[in-house]
Symmetry: C2
Subunit: 341 residues, 2 copies
C-alpha cells in the first residue's frame, strides 16, 4: 500500500501568554506514513479518531528545561494528549487490529504507541467514541475520582463549582446533585448558565455579569468548593466558606496564560479549618477505574448525566480550539475529530 498523508499539529514555539495558532501551534500536512511497513517496535499503529483539548495543556507549552509533573511538549514535534483511536496494526499481544484504544496519542492522523500506554475500550455500548475523551475520559475521571476522594460528601451540604458548564465542572455539579448537594456554579456566559440550569444546578450564575460575592454570601456558606480557576473566585470561595470546608484544587486557569494569581486571604485556612486538596488525576484514579468505566457510560446512555461537546473537524482546527479552551470561549468538552473510522 502506498503511503498516506499523516498530518499533525506541531508545538513550534513557546508562547509568552496566550498561544497563537500558526505561530506556536502549527498545522503541518506534508508528512506521510506507510501503514503496512511503518516500524512499530512491538507497539501499535493507531488511526486517531478523537483528541481531547484540555486546560492543563497550556502548562506543557514550556521550554524543555521546565520541570513539572508532566514534561513539556517536545519543541518542533507533534503535540500529544488524551485521544481515542482504532488500531490499524498491532505487534502487541494484548491489542489487536480493530480495537478501540484510549491513551496519550500524538496529535497526528496516525500515532504509533507502545501497548502499555493504551487502554482497550469496551465495545457494546451505545455512546459516541468521542465521549471516551470527555465524560468517560480524563475530564470525567477527574470529576469522578476527585469528588469521591476528597469531597467527603454529606447530603444537605452546599457545593460551589467553578467552570460549572465545562467538561469537568458540569460533571462535578451532577455528581454533587446525586449526593444530595445544593449546587452553586459559575460560568462565563449566559448561554453556559442555561446549560447549568439544564443539568440541575440550583444557583447558576455568569461570573462576568453577576455579583459573585453577593451570591455566595446569600447562598452559602460553602461546604465544598471545586476550584478550576484560582484567583478572585478562589478568594471569594474562601471568604464565604463554612468551617471545615473542603477545597478541591483541580487547576487555576485564571493564571495559566497571564501568570498565577495571588491568594490574599490565606487567614481563612486556619480560622475556618479549611482542608485543601490539590491533585493530578493520574495519581488518584487507580482505585476508581472499575467503578468509573462501569457507571459513567451507563449514566450517559440512560441520560442520568448530561454533557456537552464542542467537536471541531480536523487537526487544522486544533490550534483555534486550544486557544478557545484557554479563554473559556468553548462550549462544552473540547474535542478535535481527526477522522471517521
Amino acid at each position: 500500500m502506498s503511503p498516506v498523508r499523516n498530518a499533525k499539529t506541531i508545538f513550534a514555539e513557546v508562547p509568552e501568554d496566550f498561544p497563537v495558532p500558526g505561530k506556536h501551534i502549527v498545522y503541518d500536512d506534508k508528512d506521510t506514513i506507510d501503514l503496512d511497513t511503518a516500524v512499530l517496535n512491538g507497539g501499535v499503529l493507531v488511526k486517531v479518531l478523537y483528541l481531547s483539548i484540555d486546560p492543563y495543556m497550556r502548562g506543557r507549552m514550556a521550554a524543555p528545561s521546565k520541570k513539572s509533573y508532566i514534561p513539556p511538549f517536545p519543541l518542533g514535534a507533534p503535540m500529544n494528549g488524551h485521544g481515542v483511536g482504532v488500531v490499524v496494526r498491532s505487534e502487541a499481544q494484548t491489542i489487536k487490529a480493530g480495537d478501540h484504544v484510549y491513551g496519550y496519542l500524538t496529535h497526528e492522523e496516525y500515532s504509533i504507541q507502545s501497548a502499555g500506554n493504551l487502554r482497550v475500550l469496551p465495545s457494546g455500548h451505545h455512546i459516541s467514541w468521542s465521549h471516551f475523551v470527555g465524560a468517560v475520559g480524563m475530564a470525567g475521571m477527574t470529576a469522578y475520582a476527585a469528588w469521591k476522594e476528597f469531597a467527603d460528601a454529606k447530603a444537605g451540604e452546599t457545593v460551589f463549582v467553578s467552570t460549572g458548564a465545562g467538561a469537568v465542572g458540569s460533571l462535578v455539579a451532577q455528581l454533587a446533585k446525586m449526593d444530595g448537594y445544593k449546587v452553586i456554579a459559575s460560568a462565563g456566559s449566559d448561554e453556559k448558565v442555561e446549560f447549568m440550569k439544564e443539568i440541575g444546578v440550583d444557583v447558576p450564575f455568569n461570573y462576568k455579569t453577576a455579583d459573585m460575592r453577593a451570591i455566595l454570601e446569600k447562598e452559602g456558606p460553602i461546604n465544598v468548593y471545586w476550584d478550576n480557576v484560582g484567583g478572585e473566585t478562589l478568594e471569594a470561595a474562601m471568604d464565604f466558606a463554612d468551617v471545615g470546608c473542603r477545597i478541591i484544587s483541580c487547576g487555576a486557569i485564571s493564571g495559566y496564560n497571564t501568570g498565577i494569581k495571588p491568594v490574599r486571604n490565606w487567614n481563612n485556612v486556619f480560622v475556618k479549618s479549611l482542608h485543601i486538596h490539590g491533585f493530578i488525576v493520574s495519581r488518584i484514579q487507580g482505585k476508581y477505574e472499575d467503578g468509573f468505566y462501569k457507571e459513567v457510560p451507563a449514566w450517559l446512555e440512560s441520560g442520568k448525566i448530561k454533557i456537552r461537546e464542542q467537536i471541531v473537524d480536523g487537526l487544522d482546527k486544533l490550534g483555534d480550539l486550544f486557544v478557545a479552551v484557554q479563554k473559556g470561549t468553548n462550549t462544552g468538552k473540547a474535542v478535535v475529530k481527526v477522522a471517521d473510522e
Copy 2:
C-alpha cells in the same frame, strides 16, 4: 475578710498594627474583691497563678463587630485567655477549694468562672504548674493533636517547622523526631538556633540571616510543613515541597499585625498534590485529650521532651510580653506569673 486587690489588664483600645502597652493593653490595680462574699452564681472563684500569652490573641484585639471563631476581647474589660489557678471557693459540685484548674481565665488576680469552663488538673506530678499553660496547655495540645491528626507521619520523611524554637514549634519538632523524621526548623535568632540544636533539630537555621530557599532546596524536598508564620516562608515551603506534602496551617504570625501576606505560588497546590489542613485546636483536641494528659507530663518529667519558658512576674508586665510574642522577641513559651500559691 476585707476586700483584697484584684488587679487586671484591660483591653482598652483596638490597635492598628502592633499594640502598645499602656494604650491598647492597660494595667489597672484599682479594683478590689471580697473573697468571702463575691457572688459566684454557682461558679468558682479562682486565684490566678499563670496566664498564657499566645500569638492567636492578636486576632481578638478587634472591634466587637468582628466575626471570627472566637469573639474579640470585650472593650474596656479584662482580657482573657488560657490560665492555671487554684480554687479559693466553689459552689460547683465537681470542683473544690484547693483544686488546680485550667481554662479560659480573665486577666485578673481573681477570676470567677463557671465550672464548665474549667478542667481540674491532675495532682501528684513533679512539674511546674506553669507548664499547664504551655507544653501541657493549649500550645502543647496544638502541637500534639494536629501532628497526630494531619501529619500522616512516615519515618524517614522530612518535616520543615517554622518557629521551631517556639512553644508550639519546638514540640512539633520533637514529636516529629519521635516519629523518625529529619527535622528542618527556622527561628529568628542565633540563640533560638542553639535551642533548636538542643532539642534535636537536624537542620536549624536563623531565617533572618540564612538563605532559607537554598537550605530548603538542599535539605528538602519537604513531606510535611508546619506553618506558624505564612508569607514568604509558606511560599518557600510550597516551592520545595515534595509531591503529596501535607501542610499543617496553624497560623500566620507574619501577617497578624501588619496585614496577611499573599500566597503567590498557588499553582504548587495542584501541581504537587498538596494537602493543606487549617485547624483551630479546640475543634480537634477532644479525641486526643486522654493521651495528651497521660503522655506529655511524663515526657516532661523524664526529660524526653525539653521546653523553654519565659515567665514574667506580674500582670503589669503582660502588655510587654504580649507585644514580644507578636514580634518574636520572646524566648520560649510566654507566661505571666500572676501570683504565688
